[in-house]
Symmetry: C3
Subunit: 356 residues, 3 copies
């Protein structure tokens, strides 16, 4: 007889540059998951709420919002890549491909791009991966790199810095329904704001989004719904045994939740007339979130440019910032929690709202 305790996930010394993980399980996206996440964050784009509108725009049905696509793909990679992580450092070159719908099944794989041991701390290092999610037709829905700080299993083991060299190219082109002047888009123009079209954005402007949203212990269930297995989000006993080991000494909210929430809080002001998010060149969590924190967001408009081949659309390059006010006696202190470089594909008034 043996007592077996399987430890999940990999440690720094387990990774090899070039290694490919085909992540387990996969996930079919139900209307239950959709409902738990899409309205959670005050997303106001009718593509994600109103099937009549989404079909009018040529989509097959309700479109999964970008924050949920990111969360599904990311979470599938957690067990292999970051189950034993100390911190998620950076998202890089996150690109969207095929739209994702309720009923789709997403499966995910990751390639290890590099491993870099810490020069200062013997017990950890950075793993650099490229993660790609595909639907049941093998269409790429999302690809991105991330850098994550991972513990060693054994701090005395020497780990060499290695890299694959050039980052492999993953073909991932945003797929959008064609513009069709016969579709009478303007019949539905009252379903979105009249001041969030491409023409309405001015580079240099900073939009402070009005709404705030408290995060409650609901985060434990939301994280489970994503199949994110990391224990620091749900194992209260683990934290209570060694509070000093864990950031804040309490259950930490999975970063994908404020990622999604900041996108949603910004939506009524900058994305309710978007047809898609195109790319997130870079993103980073800058402080942890705990149950009880109220999250806010703001958007800096950095640049506007044409969308090649689509005169009806334009690209708005922004930086999305998240912040919180921890709940405490006395003066609450503003804490930056998140930023994301974000390029949004936005409808032009010339094609969708001529009356205005």
């Amino acid at each position: 007889m043996a007592v077996i305790k399987k430890h999940k996930g990999n440690f720094l010394e387990d990774f090899r540059a070039g290694q490919v993980f085909r992540h387990k399980v996969g996930k079919t996206l139900t209307e239950g998951l959709f409902n738990a996440f899409t309205p959670y964050d005050m997303t106001a784009n009718p593509l994600h709420k109103n099937r009549r509108y989404a079909e009018r725009y040529g989509f097959r049905g309700l479109v999964m919002p970008p924050g949920l696509v990111m969360n599904v793909v990311f979470s599938q990679s957690v067990e292999d890549i970051s189950e034993n992580a100390r911190a998620n450092l950076e998202y890089i070159d996150m690109r969207f491909g095929m739209p994702v719908y309720v009923g789709d099944t997403i499966e995910v794989s990751s390639t290890v791009l590099g491993i870099k041991p810490s020069s200062r701390e013997a017990d950890r290092g950075i793993v650099h991966v490229q993660t790609t999610g595909r639907n049941q037709h093998d269409d790429v829905v999302l690809t991105y790199e991330r850098k994550v700080q991972v513990w060693k299993r054994d701090a005395t083991v020497e780990v060499r810095e290695t890299t694959v060299g050039a980052v492999p190219h993953v073909a991932c082109e945003l797929q959008l329904p064609a513009y069709d002047s016969g579709r009478r888009y303007e019949d539905l123009a009252h379903l979105t704001s009249s001041d969030t079209y491409f023409e309405d954005f001015t580079p240099g402007d900073v939009i402070e989004h009005s709404p705030g949203r408290v995060i409650t212990t609901e985060h434990v269930a939301l994280t489970a719904m994503l199949d994110n297995t990391s224990q620091v989000h749900c194992n209260q006993y683990l934290i209570d045994q060694q509070p000093e080991k864990y950031l804040g000494g309490q259950l930490i909210v999975y970063g994908g939740i404020p990622f999604n929430l900041c996108l949603g809080l910004s939506c009524p002001d900058v994305a309710d007339n978007a047809v898609a998010d195109l790319i997130y060149p870079s993103g980073r969590h800058t402080a942890p979130i705990f149950a009880g924190d109220t999250v806010f967001a703001s958007t800096e408009v950095r640049e506007k440019r044409d969308y090649p081949g689509r005169p009806d659309l334009g690209i708005v390059a922004t930086t999305l910032h998240g912040h919180k006010f921890p709940r405490k006696d006395g003066n609450p202190e503003k804490v930056d929690i998140f930023y994301l470089e974000r390029e949004i594909v936005v409808k032009r008034k010339t094609h969708y709202h001529r009356g205005s």
Copy 2:
């Protein structure tokens, strides 16, 4: 560069009698929304739980319960009408039309019937609106009036009392599947109570519904699922900054949640043999609800009458009362929270349960 903070919603001085709002976004009703609300409140009518039963009765599938229909329609109107409200005063003449199913898309509009500045307080007044929800086929599913107390943006601005005069008629007739003696309804009679048919109600009786249900912080997510954007339900920081400004100094539970909960708590005793709710002539929230409160309900049977053209059905006119016991040390005090005049269309034993 400009720093922009868009304030959402309208203030008292923004409304004009006769003004029509076509509310933004719209909402497709998923199985996720249905599951979050329908069992939440202990609804026991199999029309809302058991597809086999609903189809036997001639409905297309699972029927959305009336409290959820009301919540979906109401919430779509919040941003335009009551984002800057101090209190929701009254529901008037709320009438149900076409049954609502999972998969339907609901869009909503409102007409301003009148504006009345407060004679005592310079900073507020009452807005009287008529709100109507329609499905994707343009069938009316619900229409009602409400009176809501709204803040002024600027207390020094003078607002005149105005009205459209007569309330416009919105055609909204309850649509029910025909009675069909070939359907063998009695095969499924065991799925409902045997003592909640039309014949079982006696005007003058008061039924104290046994179950109580605590409301937890879940209310924040439920409110978001309805796309209700009002900040007093979810922005903890806002409340903490000025607790004296907000009722109870804490996040307040959105009124649609106890509305729905009281309907559900009453269901096993008065509505599990109903085929629909017909009309709510009047309703009012009489005290706020906070997380931790346990909600109870009772029903007063006021009157019974025939349902024109349908000998298989009858109308039971009731008043639904909600109350709570706030959680505190010492003797808990009963507080009335809600009442609703409610007319229910109930099956007759003569047609659906002859054996009894």
Copy 3:
């Protein structure tokens, strides 16, 4: 005028051996219910997560996990059988039949097998029932016996011990798709663990499952989603009025939730290559759970045997144990909460993973 308070459910003196209850309402299983429960517990078997995988294995679609099937059937029986129970004592001979899918409608009946008054306490006794759930095609999906301790309405009423004699046989055979060597199962072998096939289990081994999961106040909503009407899970006022009467003096978590959670926590180690659970010969809750407790599980492998007629599968007989560490200052104490004899039908590497 009368004031009516209907008391729900039966008391010890209401039961008769041989009595049959056809339970009310029934339940159509939506994607919302599926999403709330299936990922809740860290289930990792792709049959319950990934439609592509489930269909490759010959199932009609996403398969409801066994803990959810049990919870749906059990909860439908609560009002008639255990609304007035003091404690749920034992599950016996719980057998699975037809797989259950999203969209199925489950209706449930129970037969009273015996009543036994307590010899020591005049106010209670044991009710022994057999409960069976069927889908909309009248296929049995689950059948089991349970013993439950039920209060008397009136402690002075004498109740005789009675029994039906032999337990009636309910035909309930596990229905599984046939093995088909043309299906190329190995294409999807990367979606499950490589060390959880039939060949990988050794009788006598004890597997301590790594993950733990805190239960929050979410349990109130989850219990409602199952239509479990028992007030000790959701009526805070009831508990606060007489805390000494109720176990722990607080809302108690419905036992089906840790039942489901322990199955899920064990899944990555023992059931992600299962095709079904076959039978739970015996099970018992050994301590209550409260919000804030973190739940863990372990599995003892007791026996392995062939699955008659299916050389591609084998049966692994296990005992699943649940335990918790109540959250308190000082040294947390391990408390056993649950055990379940559990026989799992597991794929063999010889047929599904030849490469390994």
